[in-house]
Symmetry: C2
Amino acid sequence: MARVMRVAGIQLENVVGDIAGNARRILDGMRWAEEHEADVVVFPELALTGYPLADLVLREEFVEATLAQLRRLARDSGRMTAVVGTIDRVPPRRSWDTRDRDIAIGAAVLCDGELRGIYHKTLLPNYEAFNEARNFAPGSKPGALWRIGEAVAGISICEDSWSGDGPPEAQAGGGARILLMPNASPFHLEKPLGRRELAASVARRNGTPVVYLNCVGGQDELVFDGGSLVIGADERLLYRAPQFRTDRFCVDVPLGSDRAVTGPITTVHTRPRVAPRTPAVAESALQLSADEQVWEALVLGTRDFVRKNGASTAVLGVSGGIDSAVTAAVAADALGADMVLGVTMPGPDSPADELEDAHELARALGIGMSVIPIEGVTASVERSLGRLLEEEAMPGTREALDARTRATLLLAVADRLGHVPLATGNKSELSIGSAALFGDMAGAFAPLKDCPKTLVYRLARLRNTRALVIPERVLDRPASVQEHEMHTLPDFEVLDPIVQRYLERGETLEKLVAAGFDAALVRGVLQLVDDAEYKRRQTPPGVKVTTRAFSQDLSMPITNAWRPFQADEAELIAPGAEPGPPPWTEASAAGAEGLAGPALSGPPAGQ
Amino acid sequence: MARVMRVAGIQLENVVGDIAGNARRILDGMRWAEEHEADVVVFPELALTGYPLADLVLREEFVEATLAQLRRLARDSGRMTAVVGTIDRVPPRRSWDTRDRDIAIGAAVLCDGELRGIYHKTLLPNYEAFNEARNFAPGSKPGALWRIGEAVAGISICEDSWSGDGPPEAQAGGGARILLMPNASPFHLEKPLGRRELAASVARRNGTPVVYLNCVGGQDELVFDGGSLVIGADERLLYRAPQFRTDRFCVDVPLGSDRAVTGPITTVHTRPRVAPRTPAVAESALQLSADEQVWEALVLGTRDFVRKNGASTAVLGVSGGIDSAVTAAVAADALGADMVLGVTMPGPDSPADELEDAHELARALGIGMSVIPIEGVTASVERSLGRLLEEEAMPGTREALDARTRATLLLAVADRLGHVPLATGNKSELSIGSAALFGDMAGAFAPLKDCPKTLVYRLARLRNTRALVIPERVLDRPASVQEHEMHTLPDFEVLDPIVQRYLERGETLEKLVAAGFDAALVRGVLQLVDDAEYKRRQTPPGVKVTTRAFSQDLSMPITNAWRPFQADEAELIAPGAEPGPPPWTEASAAGAEGLAGPALSGPPAGQ
C-alpha cells in the first residue's frame, strides 16, 4: 500500500465572477502540479467562481456559465487528480425555512479528461460575515471517499472541518488516510493561529494528515490571506504557505494508518505510482507578527479593490494627521507611490505644522501632492446659508461643513483625474460616530475602517521601521477627537479596549466594570457606539482585520429604542456644552441626546 | 363542546428595543380584550421586542431584560389567555453550520398571572430581507397544542405557516380546532394578496379557522402594514383589519370540526365559558389599491423613521422635478406640512419654470421653502480646483459637483436647524447608477428608494386626486435622465419593466429578449444595473415596496468581474460621447466602461 501521497497546493488568487480567468489560472496550476509529479492538486474553495458570491449565485446565467467552464476544465485535466472548488446544481433541498435551494458549494474531482464527481459542502456558515445558508443547499454525503491510485482520500470544505464531528470525522472513520480541505478563509487577527489549531486538531482526532488550502486576495471587505497548511497525522507542520500572496507547493505527505474502507467511495483512478520520484521539499514561510499581518491585509485589500475594479490610481485627503498618513502609506504600498495623489485641504485655522507634515509625508512616500485651501468654498457656503439662517451654528456643525467641503473637493478631483477616492477614517471614529456622514468617511474605499486608533499608531510605527515615511511629529501629536467633540472622552488607549470588548467579545456593562473600567465611562461609550449605527450604514467598504468588523459581522437596527446605557451618559458631557441637539444632525452625532430618542409615547395613532 | 372562540387581535405598533413601551401597549391590549370578553387575545410576532432585531438579540442584557419584562407581563395577565410574541432562551441547537443558537422566537401563552408555556417558531426564513437562521434556534415542537377552556388551539408563527406541511398541519392533525398565527410580515406590493391566499389555503388544508395577526409600523427599510385576517374553516373572510394603522378587533370565530386530540397539549385553563355574551361584530376594512398601499407605506415608513429616532422635522431639496415633489408630499403627509422645509438650490442654468414649480408645490403643500443658489459655491469650488487641474472636466463631473454641492448645503441646513435630511432619489436612478454618490442620494432616509420612476409618476397623480399639490407642469415635463447621461437610454416606460423583471423575477437576458425587448438595449441596461452596485452600498435606508428592494433583498459583490452583458453595450453610447472614462468616477458611473473593468490580467503577483 502507498505510504505517501504527493500533494500539490495552489494558493490561488481568484476573482469573483471572472470564470474564464479563474479557469485559466486553475489550468496553469494543474500543469505546474503535473510537472512536479503530484498525485493530486488541490485548489481553494470556489476557486472557479471566486468567493463570496452573495446573490450573484441566484443568476441563472452565472451558474450555467460556471458549469460549462467546469466541463471544459475536466476535459483539459490530465492524469493527475485535481480538486477544484466550484458551485454545482443539486436536487432542491429545504433549510429551516420554506425555500428550496438547488445550488451547492462543491469540490469537483477531475482526472483523465473527466469529471469523476463533486463533493458538496455539508456545513454552511451563517454567522458574522458568512451567509451561505441563504443561497446554498448543504451536501448530504459528508462521508464521501475518493480512491486516488492506492490511497483513499476525503475532501471537506472550510466550515465542514470545524464541528469536531463532521465530514472529516465521517471520512476518516470510513477509511480516508488523508484529508484534503479547500478553504476560502478570510483574514482577521485571530485567524492564522485558529487555523493552525484547527488543522492540528482534525489531524489528531482522525489520525490523518490534513492539507488545508486557502485562497489569497481582497474581495470588497474581506481579505483572504492564504497561509495554507500541510499537517502530518502526527500534528507536525509539514508546510506553511506565506500569507497575503499566491503560492504553489508540492509536498510528500505521509498517509495516516491503513484502515478498512467502509464509507461510500468513488474511484478516481487505480494506477499505482511506480516511477521513482525525487522527494518534494518545500520550505515553510515565516510567521508574520500581528501588526505585520494587518499591514499586509490593508495593502492587499486596497490593491485588489482598486485594481480588480479596473482602476490603478487613487486620491486621498492628507491632513497631517495620523489616519491620512497611514492611509497614504497603505495606498502607496498597494498601488505604487506614483499612482497615489494626496490632496491637502487646509482651513483658515489649520496649523502650519500639520501642513508641513503633510508635505513631508508626501515627499517621503514619493506620492503626488496638491494643496486646495477650503476657505473660499466654506465661506461661500456660509454666505449662502447666511441668507437663510440667522441661528448660531451649534457645536459640531462647523466641523461637519469643513469635512463635507473637503469631501466635495476630493470627489471632484477623483472625478476629473479618474482616481479612486479613498476615505481615511478609522474604526474608533466609526464606533463612537465622530466622523461626519458624507464627510470624513466619503470615498469608494476606507482602508482603515476596521482599525482602531491605537492600532493605527502601531501601524505607523511598523511602517517607519522599514523606511521613515511618517513624520515623528505626526506620531507625537495628540489625537484630536477629544478636542472636537462635546464629550470628555477618554484617551484611545482606554476607549479602544472598551469598544473592542463590547463589539468583539460581546461583553456586558457588568463584565466591563468588573474588568476595572469606570462604570459611568463605560455606559457613555457603549451608548455612543449604539447610537452611531446609522452612520455606519452609509460608509464605504474597508478591510476587515478584527474578529468583528462593522457591517456584515455586526448589524444592528438603526431605529432602536434599546438604551440600557443612557442613565449616566450625561456624566460624559463636558461642562458648559449645549444640552441636547436634535438627532440626525452632526451636532448630535456623537452627542448628548444621541440618535435613538424617545420611542412612541402614549398609545400609537389609530388605537 | 364549544362551537365558537371569541378571539381578540391587537394589530400593534411596537418599537424595536422599547421593551417597556411595548409591554405597556401589550398590557393595554390585554385589558381591552378582557373588556370585550374575549377568550383569547393574540399579539403579533415579537410584539414585546419589536421586529426585526438583527444582532441586537446577541446582546445578553437585551435578552435578560426582555425575559424579565415577560415575567412581569405574565404576572399581570388576567383570566383570559394572551398569546404574546417574544424571544426565549432555549437549549443550544446547531444549524447547518458549527454554531449553537440558544435564542428562539416565541409566542408566550399567559393566563391567570402565570406563564403557561412558550411556542417556539419552527421555520426561520433566511432569504431576501430575512436572516432569522443567523441568530435564532428553531423550535422542536411544531405540533404543540393549547387547551383554552373547551377549545384546543394551535399557535404558529409567520414562516411556520408557509410550507404546506409545517406546524399548522401538525397542530390540526393533532387535534387543533383553531390556528392562531402571530406574524411580523413586512409590506411589498404582492404581499396583501399573498397573505389572503396563504391564510385561506391553511384553513382549507386543515379544516380550521385561521387568525392571522400582523403588526404595523416602519422599521428602517421595512414597513409592517397590518392587514390582519380572520378566515373561517370554510375559507370565508370573517375579518380584515385595515392596513398601515393599528387596530383592535374581537371576532366570534366558529371552530373547526371536533377531532380527537393526539398531539402534545398544554392546559392553559379548563374553565367553561358560561355567561351569555352579546355577539362580537367587526367590520372589515376596504382593500386599498396597489398605488394607495405604496403611498401609505411611504408615509408610514417615513413617519416612523423620523419619529422613532426622536426627531419631528425634515428638510429636503426641492428642484421642481417629480422626485422631489413626491418626496415632499410624502414628508408632509408623514410629519405635517409645518414640520417640513423644502430648499430650492438653483444653479445658473436651472430653468425658471422649475423654480416656479418648486414654489407652487411648497405653497400647495403648505411646507416651508427657502432658496439657496449654488452658483457661488460651485464657482468657488471650480476656482479652487482650477489651480490644481488644467484638464477639461469630463462629461458628468459637472453634474456630480452640482449634486454634491446641493448635498453639502442641504446637510448644513439640516445640522443647523435640527431637521432630518431626506434624499429624493428613486429606484430607477439607483438601478442604473445615474445618481451621484454623496450627491442626489445623500441623506438620512430616502423615501422613494424602492420606487421606480414610473411608479413615482403614478404616485404623484394619486396624491393629486386628493388635493392638487403637484403642479401639472411637473407631471408633464419629460424625465431628464436621458439628457444628462452619456447614454441613449430608453424611456422609463421601457427601462423600468426591464429592470423590474431582471431584479424582481430574476429573468435572464434570453427570457427578456423572448418577451420582446430589444437585445442590445437589454444588454446595456442589465450591465448598467450590475455596474452600479457600489453606489447602492452607500445609500440611505428607504421604504421597501417592491418584492426586491436593494440592500437586504438583493446583495451583489461590488468587486465583480462577471460581465455577461458587456458585448453590445457600446451600442448604448450616444454618438460622439467620450470613449472610456476611468472607473469609480461620476463620469463613468453610468458610463461607457462601467465599474468592473478587466480582472487581473496575466498571472497574479507571486506566482
